[in-house]
Symmetry: C2
């Protein structure tokens, strides 16, 4: 996975770019609109967030400076962020749970209230038998109990909750954007 430049940059040297086609390989409808080269850059950085720009450039067929500018733009646009992610267990959080929430009234305001809690790591509005799914990261059982029973259920509009305590995390990827 470390070869084969994505953009066909073999014979065409110097500033003679091959007429960027408007939108072919990109089937997304959001704002920024990524092309194949940016996708490839992201892919590189998903393998190693600290990979040098020159190495990325060689892989995707761009100069070091061009990669640097693209990465900066992707960062500025909020398309991606380069961060350290940790295994919660080794950092001292021994209890995690997914909590399904049923709401009466305005779902979004409840979601905002839950999002404000530092223990809620992930908040998403869903269709189905729950209105909200919330992932919680806690230090121990007491902490978890406190968050679920005292804090979440205390939010106005929360009708009921159902908890799924994590027993074992089997997979966790950050490899969106390519497959």
């Amino acid at each position: 996975m470390h070869s084969e430049p994505v953009a066909s940059r073999s014979a065409d040297q110097k500033g003679s770019r091959e007429h960027r086609e408007p939108s072919r390989e990109s089937r997304n409808g959001s704002s920024p609109q990524l092309d194949a080269v940016s996708l490839a850059i992201i892919e590189q950085l998903q393998e190693d967030g600290r990979r040098p720009y020159a190495a990325i450039g060689k892989a995707v067929g761009l100069s070091e400076a061009a990669v640097r500018q693209r990465v900066q733009k992707l960062l500025d646009q909020g398309v991606m962020q380069i961060v350290a992610v940790t295994d919660p267990l080794t950092v001292g959080f021994r209890r995690q749970a997914m909590v399904g929430v049923n709401v009466e009234g305005d779902v979004e305001s409840v979601a905002d209230a839950l999002s404000a809690m530092s223990e809620c790591e992930y908040v998403v509005m869903t269709a189905g038998s729950f209105d909200l799914m919330v992932e919680i990261v806690c230090e121990d059982d007491d902490h978890l109990l406190d968050v679920i029973n005292k804090r979440i259920r205390a939010v106005p509009g929360v009708r009921s909750t159902e908890s799924f305590v994590y027993l074992k995390l089997k997979k966790q990827t950050y490899m969106w954007g390519t497959r």
Copy 2:
């Protein structure tokens, strides 16, 4: 948040380290056992995964080389990884869902089977009315339908599934390790 070194390294210069206490601020029980300085380094890299070692060193009160060695060890131990994370929507994945799975027989083998699917971004074994919770990332509705009905339900041991299609992602953090 860019000042105040964590380790008290003001008057004590040169190799006179202040007798590392065995385990005080770390209340975790796992293998690696992180101290406050490593936590601070992680915190720095959670803000910006490409922050230079020298800058991190200044923030946590360590030399550039020491930070580099610690980061390398944290990476090798699997305590953290530095990666690019993206907003799935802007990368072309328009449908996401959480799927609760009930299993008959060996839960772990089913979890392994689901983990092998590239569309399953997150697989966790849980206690509660589901045995497994799986997060799925798809390009569109057809893709999602295919994954849930054809692929997941086809795994031997899967008794039933319940889907929660994402309507809106409200919060997503990678700030474990500090609070």
